[in-house]
């Protein structure tokens, strides 16, 4: 019976293609809810049942059997996925409203269908353990998201982006395939469980790095990230929310999954992961700062957050390596909790950014401004998201970050000199990331929502409908919940990890628990205090006569909206410091001496991605070679015969020289 339930949505999903456009959305919603229900129930059972024993379903169809297994790790990711997928779907109703008239029904139904399949395939990735089914689910995930990106494929740019995305995903797949095949060539079976056996009698680093590369392309670690900042903006906002919120986390899932099987060299692996993650974090946020495109900015922040998660995981691996359970626990729990947190605030941010796009018809920060006056609720939500993503208390981002900080500071004094230095590097980078994130989001929030509109054509008119706000409120509430009652989420997570990595929890974990709960309390205190102060202020100001006036222009009275501080100028300080990495191109003509009456000037900056440029150069080069090689189809029949002639002569010569 259960088996049928599990397989049911797969077949139901095809209904979406055939229902008329009226009922399409609700059919999709119904099916997705079904999926969520069916998968969440066992997941919840797994997490909260004593001992976190995995649940296993054998789906035996007449033609072959598939094994789905939900252990703690999968259960955790399943819940995260389900939540974000559903919020995304709820949001999409309002968001897709304007497109109804523009898109052909076929396109819309394909869109909904692929959305459902993205959800399904992600769950498949989380539940399948055998190689081939896993890989199929993995690629289905890529394909369905690809179809979702293609939603606005009339734009050539979107098309290019989508192709680029799919190709890179495919390269990732090939890496994974090779890794699995290597395992299979040795152990004879192609599954995650077989890895344990492989790792037990081979050097672990090589294969792990292969897997890591394969998964890192999905997760968007630098330098494998180049698809990410283009794919996210190209996709519709609810899709970018889901992609950035959960889909790239599948890479993280894979890495952790492989890590559970790794037997030796854990310290080295941990250090490698730590280094890559730290670099991704810092570069990611730096690149984010200089972006003009709001969604691109958020996309680069996904890279940054993946970096933070990676730092946590690397720390955990080191902890396992040096048999320090506390370190391992702190690292992994911090990393995984950040997975949850990021899925929440990143989807929230993408949704609210989408609302801004829908209201103002541009994502260009320099065109926006003063949105808060017309869309206060969206502004508030975006602000919440920003605070969370900067890891500021009392929101959820801080909890995961402080866990990682704790682990890193613990690691300082436990281990060798090198480890301590590594740890300090990680601490510094984490601190830098925090600072830069604040820099970036003060920019994003300040320029987009505050001040006055910078262009007449792109001013917001009204707040988006409640249907679009509701899912954001859901996410926001959950974020506050995590921030103030961290233990609710931390303790089950710890249970999962203890079971997953066979960590024996020691007493010091109790003190950690205490600290985290105190953080929650502090959050309460902070909010209470703020409220109190605000009341006093309100009460005091009530008695005063409040006057309204223009902003003080330092004596200059006729300021225009275009004189406001722009995003570029705000980012300029960092852009200047990080010039060698960011390679921001500037277009401006300085006024020359002989120009007595200077003509009108224009100034523009174009943020570039060094890695993308490098990759493009490489690929173009290879393509050029291939195109040059393809010269055979000359149309002259004698040439056609010539090829055969040469080929045979070649073979015979080789034969004669005993080479063949």
């Amino acid at each position: 019976m259960e088996n049928i339930l599990i397989t049911l949505p797969v077949f139901l999903s095809f209904v979406i293609l055939f229902v008329p456009s009226k009922g399409r959305y609700y059919t999709t919603l119904f099916i997705s809810l079904g999926i969520v229900l069916i998968t969440s129930v066992p997941a919840v059972n797994v997490i909260f049942s004593k001992g976190v024993l995995p649940e296993i379903f054998h789906i035996a169809t007449g033609l072959g059997s598939v094994t789905l297994s939900i252990d703690g790790l999968s259960a955790f990711f399943i819940l995260v996925t389900n939540f974000t997928a559903i919020t995304g779907l709820l949001y999409s109703k309002g968001y897709l409203e304007p497109y109804r008239s523009l898109k052909s029904p076929a396109q819309l139904s394909i869109h909904n269908f692929s959305y459902t399949w993205l959800h399904l395939s992600m769950l498949g990735v989380l539940m399948l353990r055998d190689g081939i089914p896993f890989l199929i689910a993995w690629e289905l995930m890529a394909v369905s998201s690809f179809m979702l990106i293609l939603f606005e494929a009339e734009k050539r740019a979107t098309l290019k982006t989508a192709v680029n995305y799919l190709i890179q995903m495919h390269i990732g797949l090939v890496l994974l395939v090779i890794a699995f095949l290597l395992c299979e060539a040795d152990t004879g079976s192609m599954s995650f469980d077989a890895l344990k056996f492989y790792f037990s009698h081979h050097s672990n680093i090589g294969l792990f790095l292969l897997f890591f590369a394969g998964f890192a392309i999905k997760a968007g670690f630098i330098p494998f990230h180049t698809w990410l900042p283009e794919a996210h903006p190209a996709a519709p906002s609810h899709v970018s929310g889901v992609m950035s919120g959960v889909m790239i986390k599948m890479g993280i899932y894979g890495i952790v999954r492989v890590m559970t099987n790794v037997q030796s060299d854990l310290v080295t692996i941990g250090l490698i992961v730590l280094a890559v993650s730290a670099i991704s974090g810092i570069l990611g946020v730096m690149m984010a700062i200089v972006q003009h495109d709001l969604k691109k900015l958020l996309a680069y922040h996904s890279i940054e957050n993946i970096g933070i998660i990676g730092i946590g995981i690397g720390l955990g691996a080191i902890g396992l390596g040096i048999h320090n359970p506390l370190l391992a626990l702190l690292g992994f729990s911090g990393g995984l909790l950040h997975v949850l947190n990021h899925s929440l605030f990143k989807s929230l941010l993408f949704f609210s950014a989408g609302s801004v796009y829908q209201a103002c018809h541009t994502r260009n920060i320099e065109q926006l401004g003063g949105v808060i006056h017309k869309m206060p609720v969206t502004a508030g939500l975006f602000l919440t998201g920003s605070l969370a993503i900067c890891g500021l208390p009392p929101l959820n981002g801080f909890i995961s970050e402080i866990l990682i900080y704790l682990g890193l500071f613990q690691g300082l004094s436990t281990g060798t000199v090198y480890q301590s230095i590594y740890m300090l590097m990680a601490i510094i980078s984490l601190a830098l990331i925090g600072g830069l994130a604040i820099y970036c989001f003060t920019k994003a929030f300040g320029v987009v929502f505050l001040g006055v509109p910078r262009s007449e054509t792109h001013t917001a008119t009204s707040e988006v409908n409640t249907g679009m706000l509701f899912p954001q409120f859901l996410a926001g509430t959950l974020m506050f919940l995590i921030g103030m009652f961290p233990l609710l989420f931390l303790q089950p997570l710890a249970r999962i990890l203890v079971f997953l990595f066979q960590i024996n929890m020691d007493l010091s974990w109790i003190t950690i628990i205490r600290s985290i709960s105190l953080v929650g309390k502090m959050g309460f205190f902070l909010i209470g205090l703020t409220f109190l102060l605000f009341l006093t202020r309100y009460w005091v100001l009530k008695t005063r006569n409040i006057r309204q006036g223009p902003t003080w222009g330092c004596g200059y009275t006729t300021g225009t909206a275009r004189q406001q501080y722009t995003g570029t100028s705000f980012a300029d300080a960092v852009a200047g410091l990080a010039e060698p990495i960011l390679k921001t191109q500037k277009e401006d003509r300085p006024i020359s001496e002989e120009e007595i009456f200077p003509a009108e000037r224009s100034f523009a900056t174009h943020p570039a991605d060094v890695f993308r440029l490098g990759l493009n150069r490489l690929v173009d080069f290879l393509m050029l070679i291939l195109k040059k090689l393809a010269r055979l189809q000359t149309g002259n029949i004698q040439h056609y015969i010539l090829y055969a002639f040469i080929f045979m002569i070649l073979i015979f010569v080789l034969l004669y020289l005993k080479i063949l």
Binding site: T61, L63, G64, S104, P105, A106, Q107, I110, I132, L135, I136, E139, L140, A142, V143, M147, L150, A153, E154, R156, L159, K160, A162, V163, L166, I167, H170, I171, V174, V177, I178, L181, L182, E184, A185, L622, M623, L626, K627, K628, L629, A630, L632, Q633, I637, Y640, I641, Y643, A644, I646, F647, M648, I651, F652, L655, L660
Partner: protein, 479 residues
């Protein structure tokens, strides 16, 4: 009466009658009915072959697994091709209509013969026959281009065939006895074991190069591509699936024949070399392709390259090769039917002028997208399985160089196909503005959906019987 020999003769006679009748008739509906009758006969014949698996008829023919398998693929595709052919040539003059169907029947018969032939010379004769039959079909449009393509195709194929024949004659020298040459494969393989390897090698090279015209493999792939450009889409579907299978089968039989001898490594190297070159050339051309059908033609070449490589790698590669041949036949046929419809809808094969297909003909666009997934071996395409198996064989043999090369080239192929097909489906044509050239009934996509459905089905479930069938085919080959 149930003796395969009679049935075989019966089949050939019936097809001959059908062909000649169609030739004489000038009434379209009559021609149609006769053709349909022939299709029915063919399907029935295929059924019959399944019941008499591994029997030989008249000594010259054998219903072995691979032959019958390809025969059944042929008869499935014959149904669809005839159906789409009716639509494609419905406006032509009765004479051309008749010629088209005669040639079609002749082609199908010849291919069936080639599949079932038991003995190199028989295979050779039927292959020659396919050349003649398909020439008439390529020339269907009666334009200067068509003439050129036909001329090139016939000429180069004949040269190739002659080379193949020389290769076959060489076998005669292996045992100084020409009578060998009309012996069945089984008996030849006995003798081949004690033969002089050098002769075998030369024979193999000649045969490979000779039949590479049919299989669309490097070095003599060139004319097949040209033929695709002008042939009616249903015929292109044939040329790059069942006809290529003929070439493949011819090479495969020789390979199987010699695989027991000491020249196996040599054959493997030559096959891999040829396959790699095909992959290289085709990927290069796909990156440059400006003509929808030529792009697909090169894609067929690329797939044949993969098959050749798989065959050369050996081990699980054999399985992969057979699987890939099967899946490629269905996928590519479906794509060509769709391209035919796209020509009707957009009135061009030129890539730049075509576009906006999603709005002009949503059903067709969906088919194109699905076919794109199938042909680029992205799950849910069954080719994903076959290509993984190829890689697996490489890993098993430790050929990491081949592994990297193949994977990289496939990525480029994928890039080329994606950019072009997506351009057709979504973006506006360059220069001209897109308008509906001719309305096409969405029901015409059903056949493609069925074909792709089969391909996708294989990705998720490979029935045990199916697996056993393929294993039975490659059973004779060295492990």
């Amino acid at each position: 009466m149930n003796d395969p020999g009679y049935i075989l003769i019966f089949f050939f006679v019936l097809s001959f009658l059908a062909g000649s009748m169609v030739m004489l008739f000038r009434n379209k509906s009559l021609i149609k009915s006769v053709t349909l009758f022939f299709v029915a006969v063919h399907v029935g014949f295929t059924m019959f072959c399944w019941y008499h698996l591994d029997e030989t008829a008249l000594g010259y023919f054998t219903f072995d697994r691979i032959g019958v398998l390809l025969l059944s693929i042929l008869s499935i595709l014959t149904i669809t091709t005839v159906f789409h052919g009716f639509i494609y040539v419905k406006d032509d003059s009765p004479k051309i209509f008749a010629i088209y169907h005669t040639a079609l029947i002749a082609l199908v018969t010849a291919m069936s013969g080639a599949y079932l032939a038991n003995g190199m010379t028989i295979v050779w004769i039927f292959v020659e026959a396919t050349t003649l039959a398909v020439a008439a079909l390529i020339y269907h449009d009666r334009t200067a281009l068509a003439l050129e393509a036909t001329w090139k195709y016939v000429f180069v194929c004949s040269v190739g065939i002659a080379l193949a024949y020389i290769g076959i004659l060489f076998l005669g020298f292996t045992v100084r006895d020409a009578r060998l040459l009309h012996l069945s494969f089984a008996s030849v393989s006995e003798i081949a074991r004690l033969a002089d390897p050098l002769y075998l090698k030369i024979a193999f090279v000649f045969v490979l190069v000779g039949y590479s015209t049919k299989m669309g493999l490097f070095p003599m792939h060139t004319v097949t591509v040209d033929a695709h450009t002008v042939a009616p889409p249903p015929i292109s579907a044939f040329i790059s699936t069942t006809l290529m299978n003929v070439g493949f089968l011819a090479i495969f039989r020789i390979y199987a024949l010699f695989s027991a001898t000491s020249i196996l490594p040599f054959m493997n190297h030559v096959l891999i070399l040829s396959g790699m070159l095909s992959l290289l050339v085709s990927s290069g051309y796909m990156l440059k392709a400006k003509h929808n059908k030529r792009m697909l033609a090169y894609s067929s070449m690329e797939n044949m390259g993969i098959v050749a490589i798989a065959l050369g790698i050996g081990g699980i590669g054999y399985y992969a090769a057979i699987l890939h041949i099967i899946l490629h036949s269905f996928t590519k046929a479906g794509l060509f039917y769709q391209i035919g419809q796209s020509y009707k809808v957009m009135g061009t094969y030129q890539l730049d002028e075509s576009g906006n297909y999603m709005n002009l003909y949503p059903a067709g666009a969906t088919v194109l997208l699905l076919g794109l997934l199938c042909i680029t071996a992205i799950p849910p395409s069954g080719m994903f399985i076959s290509e993984i198996l190829v890689l697996k064989a490489m890993v098993a043999r430790g050929d990491y160089l081949y592994l990297v090369l193949t994977a990289a080239l496939l990525c480029f192929v994928m890039y080329a196909l994606l950019t072009r097909v997506l351009h057709i489906v979504y973006s506006q044509p360059r220069g001209i503005k897109s308008e509906l050239h001719e309305r096409v009934n969405p029901w015409q996509t059903v056949s493609q959906f069925i074909l792709f459905g089969m391909v996708i089905f294989i990705c998720f479930v490979q029935p045990a019987s199916f697996r056993e069938l393929i294993e039975g085919i490659i059973g004779g080959l060295p492990k």
